[in-house]
């Protein structure tokens, strides 16, 4: 069977599975719709959280990024996993005990203020839309390359699928489809990685092959360091970012992860506080499976790529004899060759001698072809990429829908609507959000890549301190939380806007302490903490019943199902 036939078969089968699950797990109540009825087992919730969290960026782009960044890629690896430790130890159990549906619920109730609630709603919606646009784009790219359909048609098909199970099933439908999507995506990620590890290093486990030696002798990483240096790049295991920047980006990503609304809300879906803790552990275990494989894939892919393009002798391979994947991917524009010296040979290096333009996304998508793996493995990567993008998109759409129907309409604008009406509004909001997300995927605003820093920076600088102090400092009050969030968001947003849109050419010399816009959320978070703490202690303490609420969420016993009352 051809690659295309395999791809249609595997993608079709996985879509049929998701739709089947959606019909089986249809939501009947708002509780089902927002938190899956609060009855999901910790292992299933862990898998769903992992699929929810691992987006098109994790699946398609991350290994490629690391491949080009070397050591510096650690900011993503540690940043996007370490946040789960913060979640498990500092937030998840207490938010579960609190027992409402959303982050704005917690912020609004804990700080007894609808202003605080509104700030949280705006942040949640902004963060989610930023994120979801990228997912839809990822869906489009996979469709266009692997199924040879138009990118826009690909986005529309993706929208239709997500619309179907998010609007129909709500959190319940999403949770169980995400479990299936996790299985598809992890299998799709590991199979090519294992194949390539065996081919290159003889190890079955990619994590061992990463530190293993090559067939001709010598460790893979030493060889890569050598190749990189020879071609004018920094050694693979060294990187080029300053230490303070690596520190701040890692911290901003960790704290941002712990503050992302679509991740936090997953811990409302388990029955008990104990389960919330355990489920964070399972989630990280399932995520770690991909995240410890990714750097191995990155190293393998870089080695294979340099060898294919520059040839085993390092003099450049003849373009006329180039393998088919180079020509396949040239059509999509993700790889380009410009024969500068007219010798008919390709050459990849840093500086003037370089003749190749290589998009980093290619490292995962073309990896099976580069390693000459069978057709079904290539098709599997397509199904996996779609699973990663769709599961994350669905989780985000649910946050948008619950923010609008529950937090904005029910809690602030029309408190008298019935549960049935609220459910209808939630479905409507999810539907509208899917359409907007699709439009963002079809007409991607030029700044999608730039605003990803926003999503994490804002989550880090707004939610995290407000939630953390809400639990750990009884004295934290409305005035403190609102001023802290406003200062944190304003500072972070201003810094990112200035360096990403106004003064785009500014380099590390002009950055504050050498911290890039990607890492500034960490400083925004510190500011938020300082302001919230100072203002809270200078103004009147929160009312008696709020202090009582805080004491109550600190002990596990008595956690009922997540509810509205």
């Amino acid at each position: 069977m051809s690659v295309l036939a395999w791809t249609y078969l595997l993608v079709g089968a996985s879509f049929a599975l998701y739709i089947g699950i959606a019909i089986w797990s249809r939501a009947a109540h708002t509780r089902d719709f927002y938190v899956a009825g609060g009855g999901v087992s910790p292992v299933a919730n862990g898998m769903a959280t992992a699929a929810d969290w691992m987006s098109a960026a994790s699946f398609i782009s991350m290994a490629g990024l690391i491949s080009f960044m070397g050591y510096d890629g650690a900011v993503y690896l540690m940043g996007w996993t370490g946040g789960y430790v913060l979640l498990a130890l500092l937030l998840a159990p207490y938010l579960r005990k609190f027992g409402k549906f959303t982050i704005p619920d917690f912020i609004g109730d804990r700080y007894y203020s609808n202003t605080a609630r509104l700030v949280a709603i705006v942040c949640a919606i902004f963060v989610s839309f930023t994120y979801v646009a990228g997912q839809m784009r990822g869906v489009g790219i996979v469709f266009s390359r692997f199924l040879e359909v138009d990118i826009n048609l690909g986005v529309v098909i993706g929208m239709a699928i997500v619309f179907f199970y998010a609007v129909l099933g709500g959190m319940k439908g999403i949770t169980y489809t995400q479990v299936a999507q996790y299985c598809v995506l992890i299998f799709a990620y590991l199979v090519p990685a294992v194949f390539i590890a065996i081919l290159l290093t003889g190890h079955v486990i990619p994590q061992f092959g990463f530190g293993g030696s090559l067939e001709g002798g010598g460790y893979l990483l030493d060889k890569l360091d050598g190749l990189n240096t020879e071609l004018g790049f920094a050694p693979y295991t060294d990187g080029t970012k300053s230490m303070i920047d690596v520190f701040c980006i890692t911290a901003a990503l960790m704290v941002g992860t712990a503050g992302l609304p679509h991740v936090i809300v997953r811990f409302f879906t388990v029955p008990k506080v104990r389960d919330a803790r355990k489920s964070a552990g399972w989630a990280l275990l399932f995520i770690a499976l991909l995240y410890t494989t990714a750097p191995a894939v990155a190293a393998f892919a870089r080695f294979n790529m340099i060898n294919t393009i520059n040839g085993a002798d390092g003099a450049g391979a003849l373009y006329s004899e180039a393998p088919s994947w180079i020509k396949n991917w040239e059509k999509t524009g993700l790889i380009k060759w410009e024969d500068k010296n007219g010798d008919g040979r390709m050459f990849y290096a840093k500086g003037d001698a370089n003749e190749m333009t290589i998009d980093r996304d290619i490292m995962v998508l073309a990896n099976p072809e580069i390693a000459k793996l069978p057709a079904w493995v290539i098709a599997l990567v397509a199904a996996g990429g779609l699973a990663a993008a769709l599961s994350t998109a669905a989780g985000l759409l649910l946050v948008i829908s619950s923010s609008i129907a529950h937090d904005l309409l029910k809690k602030m604008m029309m408190p008298n609507i019935t549960e049935k009406q609220e459910l209808l509004y939630a479905r409507l909001a999810a539907g509208v959000a899917v359409v907007i997300a699709g439009l963002l995927g079809i007409y991607p605003p030029a700044f999608v890549a730039q605003v990803v820093a926003f999503a994490f920076g804002l989550a880090a600088a707004s939610f995290f301190p407000a939630i953390l102090l809400g639990i750990f400092d009884k004295r934290a009050n409305m005035q403190g939380a609102i001023s802290g969030m406003v200062v944190g968001i304003t500072f972070t947003a201003a810094y990112i806007i200035y360096f990403k849109f106004v003064n785009k050419t500014a380099g590390a010399d002009e950055w504050f302490l050498g911290i890039s816009p990607e890492g500034i959320g960490f400083i925004g978070m510190l500011l938020n903490f300082a302001v919230t703490y100072a203002v809270s202690h200078l103004t009147a303490p929160p009312p008696e019943h709020i202090q009582h609420l805080v004491e109550e969420i600190r002990v596990p016993r008595g956690a009922g199902a997540a509810s509205q009352h």
Partner: protein, 85 residues
């Protein structure tokens, strides 16, 4: 449940969380970032040690930390009689 017992439980909880977060900080920010150059002088299989912590080791420790926390807290909840059901 009395105020003192609540506070005793909360104090123990904070101590556990702080200790685990210290390990969290040391393996990632310590070994993976601040001390990476020094640790890179040592070899761990085919890896430089600092590089291994930054791209592999810290993640393994994160997973272990959460499960350790789950175990310790389940025990603590029972000791202080605040466990569920």
């Amino acid at each position: 449940m009395t105020r003192e017992r609540r506070q005793a439980y909360w104090k123990r909880n904070l101590g556990i969380v702080l200790k685990l977060l210290l390990i969290w900080f040391v393996v990632s920010y310590g070994f993976g970032i601040l001390m990476v150059d020094w640790l890179n002088n040592f070899k761990f299989f085919g890896f430089k040690l600092g590089f291994w912590f930054a791209q592999q080791g810290s993640i393994y420790v994160f997973v272990i930390l959460i499960f350790a926390y789950v175990g310790i807290m389940n025990k603590l909840d029972r000791e202080h009689d605040v466990h569920e059901d």
